[in-house]
Symmetry: C2
Subunit: 529 residues, 2 copies
């Protein structure tokens, strides 16, 4: 379309001397005011965002259709064949745009999709990371099948009805939702950045930096192969800055930048009762009930205020500095609104706010299971009870040590702890036996200082395109950032794009259409860096 030349030139002079293509300044200027872009000062970032918006308005249906095609490919990490299809599809999406793509896989792992756009004379390299795998799904919990992307005219929770794509040329209602696994977490930024590149290319825009893409296929499965892949391909994946495009924007719907992320280490804890389920009446006063033993064990792990009671759990945690504390105070208070959204009558450690609590390490019970409950329950003493637990260590904590501490805590509750399925003799030799499996692929948390020049530059770029951003010293979405930084000698920050109410990790995951549009503009702005 080439109509943005003058404004973009004005913008770029602030920051760049590249040559721009021809534009139609009056139309653009009107668009700027009509759209209410945060464009008091024109910068390359907001000019690029605007170009992306105009391009998007002309191509909404094509963008959504490409997204739908990608979402329709099942993407649970364990489903190797479909993961390969996902990777190949993304590679084709890159190649269609003239981006050289490679699939790089460790034996037994899903491929990392790599892409690169070289910029002649560039002095730095920015790596955009996203992941194309999603959390496991239980289709019976979904209103529509998780891999049948489905548009609704409102969120399901507000009785949103299934809608067809608008007829070509008709704009999407930006409050509509697209339901599918990974709609928000994390295929959204993949589609957004490729759309942003289309937009900038049409506007004749080029990046100042080399751009790389690193799209992972095992993030939700613990990124078990990521470290090996990066270590074996340092030149390929190395760069000055990794932008982790993952997770939700702030519940206030403002863009946010996340400077710190937790690591993750996952545990499966099995507690043993009798060899087989026993008659609950005959043996209920005599045979140890593993469901009760597990309940006691889990109850011992936190106090009433949610403070983890595992000894030395918080050791090493790097406290927030003053700048981070001040940023925290500026985070919009959405707690009351979230409580209404989530039907909560209380929160843990109230009146501490969510933004503050997620700077602390998390111990979360993901699920428990023992025999059967509800309609299928039988009158038995269960044979085993199982809890799945995630710990999210924050910057400064060591996930390997956390695993030792958790195992030690289980021991202190009187359990003999084993790593493997205990043999009968082991079960008979100990009053209480627990099997603690530490899943492979755990990693540490990381936090990037807010006052680094790269941090300040990123804040400026994003704010000029998307208005005031929420600056989170730390959040709760685990990412292997510490490992990436350590392995590649790079810096990482997190730039989320999904709506906060996207049901990520659970049934009926979705993306709000406006978040897709915003993500395209955000990516366009970041591509100017």
């Amino acid at each position: 379309m080439h109509r943005n030349e003058a404004i973009m030139k004005a913008a770029r002079t602030a920051d760049s001397d590249e040559i721009l293509h021809s534009m139609k300044p009056c139309i653009l200027l009107l668009s700027v005011f009509a759209a209410g872009l945060a464009a008091q000062t024109f910068t390359p970032a907001n000019a690029a965002a605007l170009a992306a918006r105009q391009w998007r308005e002309q191509h909404e249906r094509a963008i959504v259709e490409e997204f739908v095609s990608l979402l329709a490919i099942p993407n649970v990490a364990a489903d190797r064949a479909n993961m390969q299809r996902n990777a190949e599809t993304i590679a084709k999406m890159m190649e269609k745009r003239g981006i050289a793509a490679k699939l790089i896989a460790e034996p037994g792992g899903n491929p990392m999709v790599f892409g690169e756009v070289k910029t002649p004379g560039a002095t730095r390299t920015i790596v955009f990371y996203a992941h194309y795998d999603g959390q496991p799904v239980d289709p019976k919990d979904w209103a529509t099948a998780p891999f049948t992307p489905t548009l609704r005219d409102k969120p399901l929770e507000r009785d949103g009805q299934v809608s067809q794509l608008p007829s070509p040329g008709t704009p999407f209602n930006p409050e509509w939702r697209l339901y599918a696994r990974s709609a928000g977490d994390d295929k959204l930024p993949i589609v957004a950045i490729l759309s942003a590149m289309d937009a900038l290319r049409e506007a004749g825009w080029k990046s100042k930096s080399n751009i790389k893409f690193a799209f992972e296929g095992e993030e939700e499965a613990g990124s078990a192969n990521l470290e090996r892949t990066l270590a074996a391909n340092k030149d390929l994946f190395g760069g000055d800055l990794w932008l982790i495009c993952d997770g939700p924007t702030h519940p206030s719907r403002r863009q946010q930048i996340v400077f710190g992320v937790p690591g993750a280490v996952q545990f499966d804890v099995t507690v043993y009762g009798p060899r087989n389920e026993l008659h609950g009446g005959h043996y209920g006063n005599w045979a140890p009930n593993p469901a009760l033993m597990l309940a006691r064990l889990l109850a011992s792990m936190k106090d009433d205020d949610g403070k983890v009671q595992i000894e030395h759990f918080y050791d090493g945690l790097i406290p927030l500095n003053d700048l981070e504390r001040r940023a925290l105070e500026d985070v919009p208070d959405v707690d009351a609104e979230l409580m209404r959204d989530f039907w909560l009558g209380s929160t843990v450690a109230s009146p501490k706010r969510l933004a503050e609590l997620i700077t602390l390490p998390v111990l979360n019970i993901r699920g428990i299971s023992s025999a059967r409950a509800g309609a299928q329950a039988a009158a038995v003493v269960p044979a085993t009870a199982l809890a799945s637990i995630t710990v999210n260590p924050m910057a400064g904590m060591d996930q390997r040590r956390i695993a030792d501490l958790l195992i030690e805590h289980v021991r202190k509750q009187g359990f003999f702890v084993t790593r493997d399925e205990p043999a009968p003799e082991v079960r008979m030799a100990h009053a209480k036996v627990a099997r603690v499996v530490v899943r492979p692929g755990g990693y540490n948390g990381a936090r990037t200082a807010m006052d680094l020049p790269i941090s300040q530059e990123l804040i400026r770029v994003i704010e000029s395109a998307r208005g005031p951003v929420v600056k989170l010293p730390n959040w709760g979405g685990a990412m292997p950032l510490e490992m990436i930084e350590r392995t590649l000698g790079t810096r990482g920050l997190v730039i989320p794009t999904a709506n906060h109410d996207d049901n990520q990790h659970s049934a009926n995951e979705n993306v709000r259409i406006q978040n897709l549009w915003d993500a395209i503009e955000l990516m366009a702005a970041l591509l100017t860096m």
Copy 2:
């Protein structure tokens, strides 16, 4: 075959003057010694048992085949169509033997199968009760399908292999097991008593009492319609003595008589977290985790010694008297052996023995469930957590009051308690919300005094046929005996027949073939009363 006349006559003179058919005394006498029957004194009971044994030895395959046909009909109480098939099959089994049968059902309930054998001049009526429904099944936990009766040459736990029926005329190995839902609990006595009647009929034997059969189809579902059925049909089901043929014999493999049984009241307790599952990292320190709340709630219900911590829980419990305490001391100590069988390294409230502990009311967690655990676990804060709990009140306790006490206990742990699914406003108005559903059909426990004449007569009859019996003042198998006694003005005792290691109520339920044989002899003895 009519070969038992002389011995039976000798036996009967001790207790009866009925005319017997011709027999072959020498063969019988040899059989008595060869079989090691406890026949120091010949009584009608041991003569009848012996006749049953001889008849059984000639008809093993036919008996097992009839049993297999009955076990092959799925019998989960909620499966109405198949329950009707079960009832009609049992009625046909009676009619084939000339016993008038009736199906008596409350609207919406499974029929009670009634049968009657009138004895001219009889002055008392004995009602044999059993139930033809079984516990719900989860076929994936079964080695072979629960309704495909399968013979094994050893217990599954000792690597028993699937075996074919022995060829006609070849005796069964009495240690073989027949696997199927309700093989032990509780279709076994139905087949045993009908086989015993065949045996006694062939030996020309008649009962002294009127005999009635009352075979229920909803016992494992809480006997919701039993009271109404009995109240509406008092003449039909009334009798001087109800013999509840249900549950396992003593782990020492000795026959037992059970004088007291618990009642049962079942609860489903749901604890609420956020409306939907939430991302565990983002919200794990802030949103109340229902799995943890449930763990704390369950942990609060018992102390380390298994003593229930619900206030006033034990109120009303009738303590054991001296005779009962002495009987308890005579119960063989099988605890160490059971611990080995069940791979247990400890028991609750040790060194108290199982026999003593099951005279106390039971609070047992049957199963718990929250989100998903193990391989299918997702990194979420679960939305709800559910526990199914059974309380077994003993004689003197009131199950309705227990329900109130349990609800009050949940309240004391800080929960707002609701009976129905709580509306969003309710969830938002209270810090913690629990839904407690008291399932319909709860009932009280009961205990019959050991020194009543009928108790003493029953002990004599059974001991003369089956040797020294274990006399349990109370056990753990819940039965609506208190209601039966109250509604019909009768007395009840429990005469179990299944092996203790029959996996009743859980997967891979089975009957040991010898227990089937023993049950037929026991029933023959009881039919002489």
